[in-house]
Symmetry: C2
Subunit: 160 residues, 2 copies
Amino acid sequence: MEALIPDYKDEKPLTAVMEDYLEIIFTLSREKRIVRVRDIAKRLGVKMPTVTSMLKVLNDRGLIAYEKYEFLDLTDKGLSIGREINRRHRVLRNFLTDILKINIERSDEEACKMEHGISHFTLDRLVKFLEFIQDCSLSGSSLIDNFGEYILSEKRSEEI
Amino acid sequence: MEALIPDYKDEKPLTAVMEDYLEIIFTLSREKRIVRVRDIAKRLGVKMPTVTSMLKVLNDRGLIAYEKYEFLDLTDKGLSIGREINRRHRVLRNFLTDILKINIERSDEEACKMEHGISHFTLDRLVKFLEFIQDCSLSGSSLIDNFGEYILSEKRSEEI
DNA sequence: CCAACTTGTTAGGGGTTTCTAACTTTATTT
DNA sequence: AAATAAAGTTAGAAACCCCTAACAAGTTGG
């Protein structure tokens, strides 16, 4: 029955791992002209055969255009997902670094793990909150500076 | 080599799913006198056989004390992990409800997915931030009320 | 007490993601 | 151009977590 309807291939939601691959591919394609299996493997901390098999999955699901031994590209759908995950990552990381004063390495690492659980809706709300705090800081009281001092005043700050 | 050292059984970190089970068991054991397979299954949205097999794993890893057809208990180790995950859940959920004004159902759902990625360190920092904001609100300016109004003033609030 | 129901377990299988070992293809070097 | 190195692929296996179907154990009601 479903087989007759052309665009019903991908009802299944993407896994967090698939989202990770799309985000990495998105990022790499901004940094370099071509995206290589080797680079994806290095970024994700997996071996090359793992990447190869995932690329097949992503290709079958219409998220990337890929033929073996050739370069790969994100499709429109893959691009929009990769971009969205990347946006979640940046927003969460900014919250961790700018508001909570967590150092950049840890922020990056934890944003990476939290970015799959947060919805578009909640992320938008977080963006608004960050903007709101920014506005507050501009108009004199500088809430975040106060929080920074509040954190620092407790001597058990093993990092900033 | 390691086999000779008694307490080196579990170097492998727990998976997010294992943490979920421990958290649910922790929560259920507070709510009721006994924890049942059926209740765990219902909370986690899985079938009973799935729970049974996970209980074996958790038992083998010394996180619960469990014999088939008998009641189960968390060990000290399992208890401390379950409690910690539960704490992360509550803090994250409070952030989502109290600061970002996300409704409780969504907050609960997303806290559940984010709680595994956040470190103890970052969580402590988040707790401090929530306390700090609380203090700010007490001393007149009521930052969070202002943010609540800021959110409301945008008419596209499909929820609060 | 026996039937019916609920609860829990085994057995067996499937999808996802990872790995190592061995191979092929492409790129570089001499 | 042939030899070597690097990049990529298959094949096959394992860990993890889920499922259904069937069976076993406990509980309840006639």
